[in-house]
């Protein structure tokens, strides 16, 4: 029983406290910013690496993004992913429909070439546009089961059928799903503690393969007209005092809050 896992990630800016928009209001200014993937996706990558360490198999990381997104693929490979796929787009961000279409096509193309994945991991949602759709859409296209918001994954096998035991939090406790593979699981931050890349990991990642292709955007779907930076909420800080004389006021506040 081995696993062939595909993890899908998205290159997103790592912003500071203040965001500035480009003049066309289509994107945020990223001149000063570094790029990353969402915390959910980081956990997805970590989960894949751990599952492969445990069960054996292959791990592939895929992204749809500009040529620069290879930085995130290398990062994921430095954490232990075996290989990567870059679906290289140009222009503005693609909407969830176009994105999932491109991913579906890429999976199908590999399927046709005899390359199959039996576990698809997505982040629960992307860090920037937060569409929550791509995983579900991919699952639907291949008629696979899909469970979202996953915080725990175990792999078992019964009667030759590989199963994922996937759990997610609800208000009252955990929901546990038994899902036959192949399946799509979208994971949430907290499922694990992602590792940092090691120096050997970084160096190995340089030599791991990146399979590049250029998808064509499908027409239709929602179109972004413009972005707006919300008004800063702002918060007021009140200095209660300094030193020991501030203590009674702190006690009052704690009482007010019901802590004491």
């Amino acid at each position: 029983m081995t696993l062939d896992i595909l993890v899908c990630v998205k290159r997103v800016p790592a912003p500071g406290a203040k965001m500035t928009l480009l003049a066309d209001e289509q994107d945020i200014e990223t001149k000063y910013l570094g790029f990353t993937i969402s915390p959910h996706e980081e956990c997805g990558v970590e989960e894949a690496v751990q599952l492969i360490e445990k069960h054996g198999g292959t791990s592939t990381v895929l992204t749809l993004g500009t040529a620069d997104a290879v930085e995130q693929l290398r990062y994921c490979m430095s954490l232990g992913m075996d290989k990567s796929i870059l679906l290289e787009r140009t222009g503005h961000d693609w909407d969830p429909m176009a994105t999932s279409r491109a991913i579906i096509d890429a999976i199908q193309a590999r399927k046709d070439a005899g390359e199959n994945y039996n576990l698809f991991i997505f982040g629960n949602e992307s860090a920037d546009s937060g569409g929550y759709q791509v995983g579900t859409r991919v699952a639907h296209a291949f008629d696979m089961p899909c469970v979202t918001g996953i915080k725990k994954i175990e792999i078992t096998e019964a009667d030759g059928q590989q199963m994922a035991i996937a759990s997610r939090e609800t208000g009252a406790g955990m929901e546990v799903f038994e899902v036959p593979l192949p399946a799509v699981l979208t994971v949430k931050e907290g499922i694990n503690l992602p590792r940092y890349p090691s120096v050997p990991g970084r160096l190995k990642a340089k030599r791991k393969p990146v399979d590049k292709s250029t998808p064509t955007a499908v027409p239709g779907g929602p179109v972004k007209s413009k972005m707006v930076v919300p008004e800063e909420a702002g918060s007021e800080v009140q200095i209660l005092g300094r030193g020991p004389e501030a203590a009674p006021k702190v006690v009052d506040i704690l009482k007010e809050l019901g802590v004491l």
């Binding site: 790592a14 500071g16 930085e71 290398r74 890349p197 120096v199 050997p200 990991g201 970084r202 160096l203």
Partner: protein, 838 residues
Amino acid sequence: MSDFPTKANVVVIGAGIVGNCVVYHLAKLGWKDIVLLDKGPLPNPGGSTGHASNFIFPVDHSKEMAMLTLDSMKQYKELGVFTESGGIEVARTEERMEELRRRMASSKSWGVESHLVTPAEIKEMVPFINEEIILGGFYTPSTGVVDSLRAGTIMREKAQELDALTIFPNTEIDDIVVKDGKVHSVVTQKGTIECNYIVVACGVWSPRIAEMAGSSIPLTPAVHQMISVGPVPVFSTTVGEIEYPIVRDMDTFCYERQHGGDMEVGSYAHRPILMDANDIPSIEESQLSPTELPFTEEDFEQQLEEALELMPDILGDETVGIRYAINGLLSLTPDGAPILGETPDVKNLWSAAAVWIKEGPGVGRMVAEWMTHGHSEIDPHQSDIARFYDYAHSKKHIIDRTSEAFNKTYGIVHPTEQWESSRNVRVSPFYPRQKELGAVFYETAGWERPQWYESNAKLMEEYPSELYERQGEWESRWWSPIINAEHLAMRDRVAMVDLTAFAIFDIKGPGALAHMQKVAMNQMNVKIGRAVYTPILDAQGGFRSDLTIMRIGKNHFRIITGGSDGGRDKKWFSDHLPEDGSAYLEDRTSAICTIGVWGPNARAMVQSVTDSDMSDAAFPYGALREVRIGLIKTRMMRISYVGEMGWEIYAPMEHGLKLWDTLWEAGQAHGVVPAGIGVYGTTGRLEKGYRLMGAELECEYNPVEAGLTRPKVKKQDFIGKEAYLKAHEEGPATIMCTLTVDDHTSAAGIKRYMMGREPILTLDGESIVDSHGRISYVTSAGSGPSIGKFILLAYLPPEYAVEGTKLLVEYMDEQYPVTVAVAGAGSVFDPENERMKG
């Protein structure tokens, strides 16, 4: 905010290590009403201090930097924020080992204990190092790390305790108002503060702030990449921030240091990544801080492999993760030195920028002393902002030079190494002729000056010398034996030397004489047509400069000084102009070119192209005359820096080429040779024992020690007089001496020649320290072709400053015997100055 001040004496902008140290030292020196502003929060406002690696290696080839660093270490220790870890600079190549041997000389000259260590000894101190790829190391036990943020906090608190300081973080500067060339106020987002002084201590933002005042601080923000990896298992049992020595992997331009459970790897090996000060993101826009920019991994790839090679046990461990990685911003300057002092263009606007953690407190003290007294204990000539000429403030120059310099941070830099970029900025009118003669140009203050002329190679056959061969590659680098041949031909015949790089200022007006008397040590009330060589002292009696002043008219003096000191001298003379406007300074540098003509045939040669009487009676030593050479009216001064009869000939720039051609043609019958600065600045000068500003002459030495006193002290008052009289009374604690090397043979059997800055030792190999704590080292070194010996200048305490005393000089970790040839004033060549009398 209601308590925001509207007035202050001093506003210090920037609460990084420098600003914090400046406010403390100002307060300590008695300043009150100081306001410290920063746009960021405290204690880490987001500048370079906040992400500094905070380690200090005390040894530097530069004396000024070493002194600032040693002072800073002392201060950090007093604040209780210094942790001694030891530090090792390791060599992977033999070339680097040679450099480490040279560092041994610097460590001894500046009084720092260091040792060369073997790979096995390094392994013992740093068990996780791969000793197989290194040849050895330079170990400095006193190396350590500091908590620079904590240091800053303590400095601020101390200034507050002195009731001298108020602090406003989170205060963005919008503008600086200058009125009548003097700072007037600082406009901030919280209000406007009228003030007498402004100190720009804004690190990478300094150019932006200076620009608001219509001034310029020529530095550029640049990226220094750093990563931190952890948790490192071997560090899990250590206590505190650091237990293992810091390793500088010199050949890969990287360093590795323990930081708690992590190891930091920093690099100066990547491509220069420069930024404009105006493009630095705001605090709000930054993910980490404005000076911790996103890491660009591709620039660090090679460094990662090299670091892994050196520290495989730690960096090869797959459980050790890269937890932090930044492109950290720091400040780079065109010549690598800090930028300190009052800006020449705006009165009371002070720069304290481009300073590393290792120099911060020392710089704080230096700048505060300078603001208080007009001088500082440590000579600031390398760091003085006035050293930059106008072109050096251009963006192009800053970018070109810093790009070239960045990878020299850990590089092996020869003391006379020439820049490749930003050349041919200033050329004399003789330049085309010099090119034809095969001149090899060296740059000073933007000027291209022939160091020697390849066309003189043939002179080596005519004038045999043992000093032509230099077997050591280092000493032969950036040098030519032709210099010695030019020297010998000059002493035998006559030479023409291009001196156009002189900075020339006229002081005119009814108050000119009084101004000259005030600034110059020597008597300036001389006859019109006389020239005077004079030290220029600061108030503590140390050297501020030494130069020649001509009296051209009753109310007209002309100052001739070296190109490299010109900017600083101009500022000094300008700053001391009479306040009533009775004298003014006019910069004539760009108007006047200069040729030195010296040698036994100089008189005959010049006489052949002029009707003026050039005889000794008509044109005695020290005199100044207007002389027509061919068709050009020139001004000539009978003086010499090479110890030969002759003149400096000054002419309008546009006549320069014609003047050169006229003299050159006339010189053919007299065996004229072109001679370069190699002769003028080194061989000729050293044979005559002439002192050079920045080498022998620094503010920590006085004229009594330098042997530059006159029999009488002038009765008029002058800057430094009181101290000078006191120095006279006390006698010298150290004496400038000329030494010669007795045997150059190294252990390997080749002859080695010192380059300057090496320690002078007793025959027991001990350092020599005077009663003021100053260590004896070689201030200048060079051939003396006419005496057939190699010459060293050095200050020696009186008990050693005795002619015939045998001592040692240490070079490349070997010791060579030397003899004191001249103690005090005087020279090894033509001590009676017979030749100059001509």
